[in-house]
Point group: C2
DNA sequence: TCGACGCCTTGGAACGTTTCAAGAAACATT
DNA sequence: AATGTTTCTTGAAACGTTCCAAGGCGTCGA
């Protein structure tokens, strides 16, 4: 029952009748290895069920072959996390990197990183949920540790990928204007969040570009009920025929609020959201929204991190903006066309 | 700009004026260390910002101090993943374990595990999405590698935690019967999934216990549209006044289907789901459903895995069933009471 | 005063890899 | 045939810990 000792590279070498270094060469695809030798070694590996020890592997070079991601606190559910992580891990695997997950335990955003480094670290980090003057960025820069950000960072020397929320919202506004809406309202988050500010900018741009009118801008916490309750006042004060929301959660609340006033979302008032949470397609009318291509973002982030790890040059990075996909559903259908 | 060499235990020893082994003793809380020595060493650690190398640490003992979890393929979105992972990582951290994430790349469910082991392995695994005769279970048992399962496993020697779907659904049925419904229908998944079969069993139990009638059982793929389209026939053929669904996705589809027939979910026909996906609270009427306590499940799994790792006895494990929480919303309100 | 026994500290081997300089073998060129 | 060159293989050091046996130095008892 006792688990027997794992075979080491030495056992493989003995079994294959070659030197330890030769086995290492084969396993790491070094040049100058005969096919015959390679075969002998691989056969032995197969036969013994050899598994390299990660520890021994990283010891000489000081590289852990690990990248790390800190799970955001769970106050806000994040349904897109699975796709994001999946893509990150898959992309990392292509470069023989594995992914370590850690969490923020206390309130200090830097502490988990400090802690992980103390425990043995990782070769690089993927950061998300970046805010203005994010402390983690300075911390990692100080220590000269490679990292990439999902979110906007002021410093152009930092590798960052972000969703072009402004462009997305602007596109949504133009689409809604295109189906005949003219009186727009925006429901956003309070000032001070990088993402929220960006999306508000996009709304204003979009309204201007489509020569429509913005009759109201509200800023509230990201909460279904806030959205729902806000609608009554909004309709009474400003009578918009299109409500553009900074998030799906708010938009879904707004739709519910409209129904409570006996207004039909889509038919009477157009509504848009942002994120394409699952609920947006599991409701009727379906919510027109913007989907962040988390898969593309994930691979892009890791690819850039990997190129930073192959520490040759300081790697010319700079921020990349990715346009979200506009998902058109019935909440912005053309009211002039027949009902479905 | 070049990152400077990290201080090693040797540097600490020199700085503190003691031997390397003494530093190790202090850091690992060995007995027989003077307070004076301990202080000297800790001061040096502090001053140098010493961080132990994970690799060097695991080398002698052969333990990686890592547990691993394989992300399920992303064909089915999994909104609860964030809570689950968060809890797993946090619980593992309490035992100085870190968590490695990997993914299933191809169609073979065992291959990713084999691959991870080859790459350096982990001390233990957390498995989810267990099916009947899961290949991974046999694979890991063969190799005598510690693991725990989220899901039901036939072999009672395997440590497993699962949600008692049957009890959950039965509770939902009884609750619905309690508000005056008598003609039940069940919408489940096709036979052959451990989870689906379990929930169907619970439905039948619940109906029997509440002396209600089951007028129909349908089995379809887990798909919003399936649920929606199925309703017309179901209402025509069997006229249920309560529809119990195996999942929220189907239940949301059913609610939409009812509306299309000008029936009001909650008022005319009660509807229940399973999972408490975010959409269930972001719709109106809110969907009565069962929530899997992912946080409790996560910690339980890891605690048991940890106790297996402290390899003393074969650790008497056995399966644990956790009852899901019944979340009551307006989709099962009492039709006799006044509308809200 | 001497010896035995504790407690604390220490040197050094071991862990399983990578890496690099150097050796051996095969081949090409004269 | 001798020399140079290239291709393939090897031995051994190094990586940063832990762990164990042994050493030093007090203290206590006789």
């Amino acid at each position: 029952m006792a688990r027997q000792r794992r075979p080491t590279i030495k056992d493989v070498a003995t079994a294959a009748g070659v030197a330890v270094s030769t086995v290492s060469n084969v396993l790491n695809d070094h040049p100058h290895v005969t096919d015959a030798t390679r075969r002998k070694v691989l056969d032995a590996v197969e036969k013994l069920g050899y598994q390299a020890s990660r520890a021994a592997k990283s010891l000489p070079g000081g590289r852990t072959h690990l990248i790390a991601y800190c799970l955001p606190g769970d106050e806000e559910p994040n349904p897109a996390l699975d796709v994001f992580l999946h893509r990150i891990v898959a992309t990392a695997a292509a470069s023989s990197l594995e992914m370590l997950l850690f969490v923020q335990q206390g309130h200090d955003s830097v502490e988990p990183y400090r802690d992980l480094l103390r425990r043995g670290g990782a070769d690089g980090f993927v950061l998300s949920g970046i805010e203005y003057d994010d402390e983690r960025v300075a911390f990692l820069q100080d220590r000269d540790i490679p990292f990439v950000c999902f979110g906007r960072v002021g410093d152009p020397g930092v590798t960052a990928v972000d969703v072009d929320g402004a462009a997305g919202i602007a596109a949504a506004v133009e689409h809604v204007a295109g189906v005949g809406r003219t009186r727009f309202a925006f429901i956003g988050w309070p000032d001070g969040s990088a993402t929220g500010d960006d999306r508000l900018r996009g709304y204003l741009d979009g309204v201007e570009r489509s020569r429509a009118a913005s009759v109201a801008v509200k800023q509230v916490r990201n909460d279904y009920d806030r959205g729902r309750k806000l609608v009554a006042d909004l309709m009474e004060d400003s009578r918009p025929d299109a409500i553009v929301c900074v998030s799906d959660v708010l938009a879904l609340g707004v739709m519910d609020g409209l129904r409570a006033l006996d207004l039909r979302p889509g038919a009477d008032v157009a509504v848009t959201g942002f994120d394409d949470v699952p609920a947006s397609s599991l409701t009727s009318p379906g919510l027109t929204t913007l989907r962040q291509p988390m898969d593309r973002i994930g691979s892009l982030l890791v690819e850039r991190l990997v190129s930073q790890l192959g520490r040759t040059a300081p790697s010319p990075s700079g921020p990349v903006l990715i346009e979200p996909d506009l998902i058109i559903r019935q909440s912005t259908r053309n009211p002039m066309l027949a009902d479905t």
